[in-house]
Subunit: 414 residues, 2 copies
Amino acid sequence: MKVSIITIGDEILIGQVIDSNSARIGQMIQDLGLRVNFKWTISDERSEILYTLSEAKTKSDIIFITGGLGPTNDDITKSILAEFFQSNLVFSEKNYSHLESLLKPRNIPITESHKSQCFVPEIANLLDNQMGTAMGLHIEQDQKIWFAMPGVPYEMEYIMKHQVLPLLQSKGLEKSSYYRTVHIMGQGETQIASVIEPLLQNKSQSIKIAYLPSLGYVRIRLTVDDNITPEIKKEVDQWIELISEKFGTAVYGFDDTSLPKELSKLISDNNLQIGFAESCTGGYLSHLITLIPGASQYFRGSIIAYSYELKTQLCGVLPNTLVEYGAVSEPTVIEMAKGIAKRLDLDLAISISGIAGPDGGTPEKPVGTVWIAVGNETDVKTKKLKLSKDRQRNIETSAYYAMILAWEWLKEHY
Amino acid sequence: MKVSIITIGDEILIGQVIDSNSARIGQMIQDLGLRVNFKWTISDERSEILYTLSEAKTKSDIIFITGGLGPTNDDITKSILAEFFQSNLVFSEKNYSHLESLLKPRNIPITESHKSQCFVPEIANLLDNQMGTAMGLHIEQDQKIWFAMPGVPYEMEYIMKHQVLPLLQSKGLEKSSYYRTVHIMGQGETQIASVIEPLLQNKSQSIKIAYLPSLGYVRIRLTVDDNITPEIKKEVDQWIELISEKFGTAVYGFDDTSLPKELSKLISDNNLQIGFAESCTGGYLSHLITLIPGASQYFRGSIIAYSYELKTQLCGVLPNTLVEYGAVSEPTVIEMAKGIAKRLDLDLAISISGIAGPDGGTPEKPVGTVWIAVGNETDVKTKKLKLSKDRQRNIETSAYYAMILAWEWLKEHY
């Protein structure tokens, strides 16, 4: 079973929109044992779309199309699909009822451009979309399965979850892919590879190793494509376990997880209350933790202390500490962490202060200098980072290293 | 001039990594008057890569390749490029010196896998990469220009900025694309289209309109591909101006900008001091504002008040207000905004409290109920949102509507 994705839209090509949809589709079909083999992103142009539909048909069994189903003139996917499948474009009463059910309760009048959304290729089944006016399309022809969905991420996701996945599940397709991932923090790709390559030298040829470096962590993935037997799956699982043993406490999780998720689980499992004092990360660490459902059970809150006043008045840093050592210093982050631990009654406090850039550095403290402290009112662990000149990268890296330090501190204390 | 991007990596296809690189490339070549016409994402497999290189050569003049230049065994791009261009893979002293210059100061020993990175196709020029060990490649053959870059975003960006763009600039390529964008907040795509379509009915055929809806705002883009004359550019600019006049204060910016950027500029231009009290958005609004360089000039800080205690003790909400109206209510967000405006001495305070979900709703206050207040110690404006059941979407939408409300409040007061 080969799977392709066609993403339609100039906005993706010129970079006004980042295509998160195809990543999401790739994740969502994993449980069915399917993987994406090929992906095209193309312009809203008839000839390009027709050419790519033919290519996709040649190279794959299941094809996902996103984009171009909306109500405006640049939405041409349906008319092109009708041409490609030599099917008439017909007015769908089902689609019109769908529009009415969505728009009437909100007192939005149905316009001509709304109505134009109701013309669909006769060959297509309509897929319900409770998140928006554009319904999805499902077409089967010549042993190929096609799905067309709107480009708006939460609409695409709704249709995938409620319509496409159950439909594919019901077909009992052969699994064509198996992969496992182990997450390792605080070490570089080359360093990790130098341990893993000799460790896995006797693995079966059909198992591929991939390294996915990110800021502060690396994901190692073992993949088998084709011939998915219970034996090869077991072998993959055993290698993953062996890697995990080898790297010990640097391993924070497996498969489709993340450091924020695993750290949150560790905190929740230990019934701890946490909070942060963030300066240079400006709320990004709090954001990562509060994205996880249920965060209110263990996250009390944070103080984003960008100014001196907030550091002293709310976090309890002594004015003299700021004068003597500066805002970006070990004594300051220690006082920030201990201060909020006391004030907010926390079991775990994290503080971060640094120079995110691009300006604001000095010879002694260049842009990218970041101090982190982690702990409670009496016992704090610190770390100094020397990062880059790039503001966004520094913010993200600091937040990840703060989570790594918190992980280590928790493993020592709980 | 047709431009293609080939992104290599299973991690993108299976959705472990979102491909932000190609969006960035699309943005970066805009100033050269170039646009991306076609993009492939493919597996780390020799036959797929070779097939796609041929396709790209047929369809385009400039081809960008990302991924597969790293030090590990899954990095096979260079050997495949050597095969495709029928060029030998040779050890590059220049690449080795580059490795030494990066690794020696950090006391990292040069390993065999590092050395394997130094084998490059003889036909290629090496492009400096100060962000990592993998150098970029530049190849010209049969009137086609090829660039291969590592998949790590900041490494790719470094090579683009310092090597690729100056090189393309020096070639004086013909401009093949011109586009302008106007950003409109607080209105839906269909609503906006129903105004714009009649307004622009006399535009030249070669100008295409595209609508890019996001959470809380829509970007409208006018594009011309091919035959870029001064007249057609002027016409595009005039239509953009006309749309802008028609939508008045709902327009917050043009071209490559964002609501956080424009709001920050408005705040900075008026010499204001701002801060937030965030509950359900959990720091996301603070993060959006502090991503902008120079934020410390006008952003004092925030209180992420997830718990009752932080709302009362730090934001100054009366305990009785929480008991009587609940944390998600108009009186609470008003007290939060006025409270921090006073406490942090702010000219503009924003407070947000809501039920992000997926759990925690009640019949009276279902998941997706969000209250926002914006103002100063004495004068506050509020808004209630009824959003979705999706946590991340609710967080992002709330932050954007808070910025829209702040924009409106500022336009009324300054």
